[in-house]
Amino acid sequence: MADSGESFGMRTRPISGGSTREAELPGVTGVAWPASVERSESPLAQGLRRFRRSATALVGVAIVVALILVALFADVLAPRSPIASDQTRTFQRPSWDYPLGTDQLGRDMLSRVIHGSRISLAVGVSSVLLALFVGVPCGMIAGFYGGRVDTLVMRAMDVILAFPIYLLAIILMVMFTPTAGLIGTMKVTAAIAIVRIPIYARLVRGSVLSIKEKEYIEACHALGVRDPWILLRHVLPNCLAPIIVTTTLGIATSIIVEATLSFLGLGTQPPTPSWGWDLKANVAFIQANAWLSLFPGLAIFVTVLGFNLFGDGLRDALDPRLK
């Protein structure tokens, strides 16, 4: 029953959005489609080929991978503790001992920048994933069932969308009271995720509205396939391409929002190293110690650039219509 949709020869031309269905289920392909049929390259493989040809996309991937490595091995890579202050060595200029100098508390800037990557990446990625896990099911259910469910879900989303994003994020952070460490990071993540849920809900709802009218979904209904299975197995894979692209680009936006909240003093609190906070704290000393606010800012820029290049490359590769 499970694969009835395919075994009845319902496989029409692949949606140009780039279904990843084939790639995920290599074992099923032989059963569902007779081997005698010449199969053209799958949309995913086509997408990957396009992605590999793009130099900028590869630069983006390189930056993202490097950042993940830096964040994972921050303890090994950082020459010193990011929070240990040394009152005898404040405002050291960049040197061999302190490649990026030290701040007003004598803390090693290089170590702080390296450790700061953890907060940025953790908040950037997890807030988007959180928004995704709430927003995508909401959008799928709203779009698939329509009617009252749709109205209810989308009105709730409209309430969030009615807010200027930063106003809501700032007030949420004040409500949560920013703190340091893991809990503080989770608060920022939650605040950013909440303001970003409607983006995914709307995106997915739009895709589902068009997909549910397709013949293969009708065939599923006719065959008595249960709704959750249709949603997971037939609807979701076909709206994956825009979700993947929005997610990657969304990480870049979330990192900027996190840095902005930190800059306003509403992100993860010190002593936990955070780029936005470091930049803000060191602007006060910009007159004599310009390099101090330069490095955290550069770190934010490179990270966001990496995810933007990656996301742009994915968009061009997975969905040429969006280019």
């Binding site: 807010f163 106003l167 700032i170 004040v174 900027i256 306003l264 936005g276 803000k280 910009i286 820029f301």
Partner: protein
């Protein structure tokens, strides 16, 4: 069309009410109490009760909201708990600063983006296009405050203090207080860096969008027709292509307003400008309920009105779009 505008104008009221209500409830569930901050070291339980009574803080939250709303209808925006000043007066003093910042930054964005996008689209895949798209990519990836810091380094520190790093000088004729610094040149000096810092990001987003939609429009048949009938390149690009390409761009710019408000807060903080952004963030962090309500009211109103203007711009750009 007229009924549509009327309908949309009527929708502003419930939306603004909803935003202010949600913020009202959220702010009052924030841990910490402005009364404690107000009384400071001399805090006693009796004084606190008196102050709460004086400001109506002892009533249920929804009752407080209705009271706030009732006073608002009479033009009374309430009195700040911490500063003791009327909120409306503070908002009016700070509004021109933020308005000037936002208008100029949008100007900066348009001045950079429109030529860059046109050049990028008309000379697709040439070095000019690559430069435009790369610079736009960089611009999208830099947060406003870092552009601000770079500008500070360049113009306030690098070039021997060419531009002031903080503060504000009002445009002649806009001074909202009894005494304030007024000079045209001083105003330009103070607004230049913040406007660029806020505008560059917008310019980058605009360039990317506009270039993409220009590329689409330029390949359409009516552009080919316009060229074929011997129209000069300039009217083809500006009247036929650009106007149509602006439609999707305007939508996204409308959505960007939410980010622009955050950007204004950040840039005003960085350059220590006495605008609404710094007013709002100080009020929120200080839990000054009345000021937060005032700030929310004016931001929500601006947000909703700008989105309405965006929708109405469509009919100007594309007369085929008619709102019944």
């Amino acid at each position: 069309m007229r009924t549509y505008i009327l309908k949309r104008l009527l929708q502003i009221v419930p939306t603004v009410l909803m935003i202010t209500l949600v913020v009202f409830v959220m702010m009052r569930s924030v841990p910490g109490d402005p009364v404690v901050a107000l009384l400071g070291d001399g805090y006693t339980e009796e004084d606190a009760i008196k102050v709460r009574e004086a400001y109506g803080l002892n009533k249920p939250i929804l009752v407080q909201y209705v009271i706030w709303l009732g006073k608002l209808c009479q033009g009374d925006w309430g009195i700040s708990i911490l500063s003791g000043r009327p909120v409306l007066q503070d908002v009016l003093v700070r509004l021109p600063v933020t308005l000037e910042l936002i208008v100029l930054s949008m100007g900066v964005a348009l001045v950079i983006a429109i030529p860059a996008a046109i050049i990028g689209a008309l000379r697709q895949n040439t070095w000019a296009d690559y430069t435009a798209t790369s610079v736009a990519m960089i611009g999208v990836s830099i947060p406003e405050f870092f552009i601000g810091v770079l500008l500070l380094l360049l113009f306030s520190i690098g070039l021997g203090g060419l531009l002031p790093s903080s503060g504000w000088v009002y445009l002649p004729g806009t001074c909202p207080m009894m005494v304030c610094g007024v000079s045209l040149w001083g105003n330009v000096q103070h607004v230049l860096m913040p406007a660029i810092a806020l505008g560059v990001g917008r310019a980058a987003i605009l360039t990317r969008l506009l270039r993409t939609s220009m590329l689409e429009v330029i390949r359409t048949e009516y552009v080919t027709t316009a060229r074929a009938k011997g129209l000069a390149e300039r009217p083809v690009v500006f009247k036929h292509a650009l106007k149509n390409a602006l439609i999707p761009t305007v939508t996204v710019m409308g959505l960007q307003v939410g980010f622009l408000i955050g950007g204004a807060i950040v840039v005003e903080t960085l350059f220590a400008m006495p605008g609404l952004g710094t007013f709002g963030i100080d009020a929120i962090i200080g839990r000054d309920y009345q000021q937060v309500q005032g700030f929310t009211l004016i931001t929500a109103f601006a947000f909703v009105v700008i989105n309405l203007i965006v929708d109405l711009t469509y009919t100007f750009l594309d007369p085929r779009i008619r709102y019944a």
